[in-house]
């Protein structure tokens, strides 16, 4: 364990050995810089799922026989691990969904429909991912709510200059803990306190936060927290919604079906207890077990070390790109590596991000190009799209150098 971390920093060579995607020799070698879209998976995660399927798969919470009992035990143990990882008060507060998007829709459908009325104010931010915008746009349309947005400053921070006015009369405040475009870490606690003072409930989209920083729901002050397995070394097909128990208890169910009921009659039903009340149908069993293993790996690395590694790498990347390309390469978002995550969205010499990404791919460098599911933010930044390089535990300075080198070929082809 100790060998993974040298001077508080991850030993990337050793970390990389945990990730089978690096096993295959590739020419050019893989320079994967798109973990903000989805991370790769360590062996431990794939093995946990595989072992489950090969030895003890059965539907959970239903069978009396030993194999089903073992399946249930592994599934619920994963929930307990996730609960501990984010500092939840109990496993009852941890709901498994299919992704962060479903988690946020669950809040909108269940808490939203039960508590919001025509004319009520919902406050979001201009840097939300579509996952924390569209559910509220849909609900606003159906219930006739009023939407208000917290803006962003020119250096890419959340504008909290007049929170009190902005949150006045709000019933719900939704914000991202870390922007998937700008990397900005938002002052969740400050907004949550102001929101609570205004009588609002606070929904935090932590999809980019939980994979990269120590998370403590109590310290963040949130009421709901959504995140997604595939961005934190876990499999696809699983997300999490954490919610305060008292709120979850009072909420009506969302999806109806097996597992979430305690009794069903032809004319009605009664709900099961938390967390199962919100888990209709066969849950993502193997996926939960995989997520549990992912949490185990992140704990083994240590979230402080994960964060320190990213700050160091981000700082190196900002220096390198500025040194090489000066004003011709604009990185959107905060300049201070400590106030942001390892997500660098950039514009380069007027070359379209699509073309940048295509040319970089030829050098084995995988970056994302597009609106990153944040079209309103793109409009705010005055761009149609950006190229985005993002880092995780398996990236190192050589990856940054490869990116910087490959950008030269873009200029050759497109600068005229």
């Amino acid at each position: 364990m100790a060998a993974l971390i040298v001077d508080d920093v991850l030993d990337v060579t050793r970390v990389r050995a945990d990730f089978p995607v690096y096993d295959r020799r590739r020419e050019p070698p893989l320079v994967f810089l798109d973990s903000a879209a989805s991370s790769h998976k360590p062996r431990a995660v794939l093995d946990a799922m595989d072992d489950y399927y090969r030895t003890t798969h059965a539907n959970v919470h239903r069978g009396v026989y030993a194999m089903a009992e073992e399946a249930t035990a592994r599934f619920e143990a994963a929930r307990a691990k996730v609960a501990r990882f984010i500092g939840a008060a109990s496993s009852r507060e941890v709901l498994f969904t299919k992704n962060a998007t479903e988690s946020l829709n669950l809040v909108a459908h269940s808490w939203g429909r039960a508590n919001l009325r025509r004319g009520d104010v919902v406050v979001l931010t201009e840097m939300e991912h579509h996952a924390n915008l569209v559910p509220w746009l849909l609900l606003a349309d159906q219930l006739d709510l009023r939407l208000r947005y917290l803006g962003i400053t020119d250096d890419g921070l959340l504008d909290t200059s007049d929170l009190e006015t902005a949150l006045d009369g709000a019933r719900l405040v939704g914000l991202t803990a870390m922007s998937n475009v700008l990397g900005t870490l938002t002052p969740v606690r400050q907004v949550a306190d102001a929101a609570h003072a205004a009588g609002a409930v606070v929904v935090v989209d932590a999809s980019q936060y939980v994979p990269h920083l120590v998370t403590d729901v109590a310290a963040l002050g949130a009421d709901f927290l959504a995140f997604t397995g595939h961005k934190m070394l876990g499999p696809t097909g699983i997300g999490v919604l954490w919610g305060r128990e008292a709120l979850l208890e009072a909420m009506p169910p969302f999806l109806g079906g097996g597992e979430m009921i305690s009794d069903v009659r032809l004319d009605g039903f009664t709900c099961n207890e938390l967390p199962w009340k919100f888990e209709a149908g066969t849950p993502p069993i193997a996926e939960a077990i995989g997520l549990g293993a992912a949490v185990g790996e992140l704990e083994r690395y240590g979230m402080e070390a994960v964060r320190a590694h990213e700050v160091a790498l981000t700082s190196y990347a900002l220096r390198t790109l500025a040194g090489r390309y000066g004003d011709e390469l604009v990185v959107h978002g905060p300049a201070d590596p400590c106030g942001r995550g390892g997500v660098l969205s950039f514009s380069f010499r007027g070359i379209h991000p699509h073309d940048i990404s295509q040319v970089l791919d030829q050098a084995g460098v995988c970056v994302r190009a597009g609106h990153h599911c944040a079209k309103p933010l793109m409009r705010r930044l005055g761009v149609g799209a950006t190229a985005r390089a993002s880092f995780y535990v398996y990236n190192d300075e050589a990856d940054v150098d490869a990116l910087a080198d490959a950008l030269d070929s873009c200029s050759e082809l497109f600068c005229f």
Binding site: A44, D47, A48, D51, Y52, T55, T56, H61, R62, G63, V64, A66, A68, E69, T72, A73, R74, E76, A77, A78, A80, K81, S90, S91, R92, E259, I261, S262, D263, T270, N272, E273, W276, G292, A293, G296
Partner: protein, 165 residues
Amino acid sequence: MAGLEDLYREIILDHYRNPRNRGELDCPPARRAEGFNPLCGDEIVIYLDLDDDGRVADLKISGQGCSISQSSASMMSQAVKGCTVEEVRALNTAFKALMTIHESRLDGNGNEIGGETGGDGSGTDTPVPDPRVSLGDLAALQGVVKFPVRIKCATLAWNTLTQAL
């Protein structure tokens, strides 16, 4: 694997064959509470009559279920008759503690999983039982913890009784 003899002790089968305090009471004056085991469909109805001192004057049980839920209900009915509400709560606490898995276990990869599992699987933090409380016959149910799925069967009657209190 734990053997069936851990689960199906003779005294349990006796309570299953000859359930004590089966029946119904008029409501009011009695209180009535219904419980379901969502896993298996077991249903239990508890009729509870408290006297003016807050003691369990009478208690009847109806519904249907497996040997564990039925025998647990039957033993419970014997144990709580004549008790004050506080005494019933203390018994409930002691029984829930009995139904709690304290060992941590290893999964197939040698990782520690689980840790403490709340008695009825609801994840409720288990309050510390009063050491003076004696469970009597109910102690025979301790083998149930080796079969975690059945814990909900054993605690169904108690959870339903708690609702009625």
